[in-house]
Subunit: 284 residues, 2 copies
C-alpha cells in the first residue's frame, strides 16, 4: 500500500541523497587510506533518511523552505552515519554487516573506520555552521550547540555507553525508555530543533520541536523493537507507549497549525506501520 506520506517521502529522500553527495568530499588521486571513498561508502546508497525527513518537516513547521533546512538534514544524517561506523567497530558492537554490505571497518580496515567516523562527525558541524549563510547566522551557532548537546556525552554517546553496559538485561520500561531517549530520541530532537532553527524559529518553537523529536524518537525505537521482536516481555507496554507518544507528537505538531501537518504525518506513519505489521500485513 502506497501512502501519501511514503510517496512524498520518496521524493524528498532523493533530494537529501543529492545534498549528502555534495556535502561529502570527492575522491582525489592522493588519498592513501581511501578515507574519502570510505566516507561516501558509509553515508550514500542506503538508509531510510528518517532524521533528514524530520529536520525538513520541522523546518516547514517553522515556516522555512526545504533549502533552508537541508544543511540541518545533512548534518544530522552525517552524525547518524558516524555513530553507526563507530558502533560497528570490534571494540563496540562488533558487527560485520550493515544494510547487506560489509561494515566500514571490514571493507576499509579498523584504523580507517575510526578516522572515517571522526571525519563524518567533524563534517556534520561544518555543514551545519555554514548552513546559516542565507539566514541569521546566530541561529546556526545555536543549532551547532543543540546538535552537539544531543550527540555528546549527555545524549547519544552516553546512551551508547548505557546500552553497552546494560546489555540485554533491561526488564522495565523506564530504563528502556531512558536508553531510547539518549541513543535515538536525542538525535531526532536535534533534527527537529536544528531544522526549525535553520528556518529562524524562535526559542519557544525550538523547544516545541525538540520535545516533538524526543517523543518521536522514543516512539520510533519502541515500534522498531516491536517489529524486530526485541524485548518480548515489554512488547505490549511498548506498543501502548507508541500510541501515547504519537498522540503527544500530534498535539505538539498542532501548535504550528497547517505548517505542522508533515510532522503529524510522520508520527502517524510510525504508529500505522507498527499496527499493520502486528495485524500481519506484509511490509516491504
Amino acid at each position: 500500500m502506497t501512502e501519501p506520506f511514503e510517496t512524498r517521502a520518496q521524493a524528498v529522500r532523493a533530494r537529501v541523497d543529492a545534498a549528502l553527495d555534495a556535502a561529502l568530499p570527492a575522491r582525489p588521486e592522493d588519498d592513501p587510506m581511501r578515507l574519502r571513498e570510505a566516507m561516501r561508502y558509509a553515508v550514500l546508497g542506503g538508509g531510510k533518511r528518517m532524521r533528514p525527513l524530520v529536520a525538513l518537516a520541522a523546518c516547514a513547521a517553522a515556516g522555512g523552505r526545504e533549502e533552508d533546512g537541508m544543511p540541518a538534514a545533512c548534518a544530522i544524517e552525517l552524525v547518524h552515519a558516524y555513530s553507526l561506523v563507530h558502533d560497528d567497530l570490534p571494540a563496540m558492537d562488533d558487527d560485520t554487516e550493515r544494510r547487506g554490505k560489509p561494515t566500514v571497518h571490514v571493507a576499509f580496515g579498523e584504523g580507517p573506520a575510526i578516522l572515517v567516523g571522526d571525519a563524518l562527525l567533524t563534517r556534520a558541524f561544518e555543514v551545519l555552521a555554514q548552513g546559516g549563510r542565507s539566514r541569521p547566522r546566530a541561529r546556526a551557532a545555536e543549532a551547532v550547540a543543540r546538535l552537539a548537546r544531543w550527540a555528546g556525552i549527555d545524549g547519544m554517546v552516553g546512551g551508547q555507553a548505557l546500552d553497552l553496559a546494560l546489555g540485554q538485561d533491561v526488564d522495565d520500561l523506564t530504563t528502556l525508555e531512558r536508553v531510547h531517549l539518549l541513543k535515538t530520541g536525542g538525535l531526532y530532537a536535534a533534527a527537529a530543533a536544528t531544522g526549525g532553527l535553520m528556518a529562524g524559529a524562535d526559542d519557544e518553537a525550538v523547544e516545541t520541536l525538540d520535545a516533538w523529536g524526543q517523543a518521536f524518537g522514543v516512539a520510533f525505537q519502541h515500534a522498531d523493537d516491536v517489529l524486530d521482536g526485541d524485548q518480548p516481555r515489554l512488547r505490549e507496554a511498548a506498543r501502548r507507549r507508541v500510541g501515547e507518544l504519537v498522540a503527544r507528537c500530534r498535539t505538539l505538531a498542532g501548535r504550528f497549525g497547517t505548517d505542522g501537518a508533515e510532522l503529524a504525518s510522520i508520527a502517524q506513519w510510525v504508529a500505522d506501520r507498527m499496527e499493520r505489521a502486528l495485524a500481519g500485513e506484509n511490509l516491504d
Copy 2:
C-alpha cells in the same frame, strides 16, 4: 632560565586548566562506563596548552579580552585531546603511555576510548558554539566552520591518514611539511583564527591569523623533530625552515601593531628554545 614569555604563559595555563575543568562533565553516580571520568583523565593534568596560548594571543591581537577567547582556547584543546585518544588506539599508533600515564584505552578500555574521543570532539563544538554568547553569534558559527575544516578530512584527520600511510619513509622536506601542515599546522591555524573570531575580528584579520597559525604550527613541529632527533637527514633543512617560518610569523603579527606582541613572542620562543637545545643548554 625563566623567560618573560614562560612566566606569562604559566599564569595563563592555570586559567586555561580551570576553564577546561569547567567545560568537562562532572562525574555523576550513574556513569556505567566511566566515560566522564575518562574524559577528564584525557584532558586534565598535563600538556603545554600551546594551542590555547595561541588562541588567546590571537584574541588579544584582534583586540579581545582573555574571557572572549577562552571558549576557542578550550575547544581547540578538546579537539587536540580527542585526536590523541584516538591516535593512541591499537588500530592506529598503538601507544600505551602518554605523559607518563597509561593511555585512555589502556586505563579504561578500547570501546570507552573510542566513545571518549567522540564525546570530546562533540563537546569542543558545543563549547565553541556557545562561546559567542557575549559577542556577535555569527562569528561563533564562522569559528565552528573554520575549526571543523581544519580538524576534518582536509586537515588533521587527513594528515593523520597521510602520516600513517607514509610511515618513517619521508625523505623530502616538501612532503614532510605537508604532513606537518595538515596534522599540526591546521589546528594552530584554527586556534588563531577562532581566537580572533571570538574577538569579532574581520575577515582580513582572520585570514592573517590563520596564516600565522599555519606557519607557526609547521615551525613548531619542525622544532619538535629537531629536538627529538626525528628525521635526522632533514635536520639542517628543518632548522633553517624554523627560522624562516618564525620570521614570517613576526611579520604577520606585526600587522596587529602592539596588540600582536604576544603572537610574536610565542613564535620567537619556539625558535629560541630549539636553538638553545642545539647549543647544548639543558631544558626542563
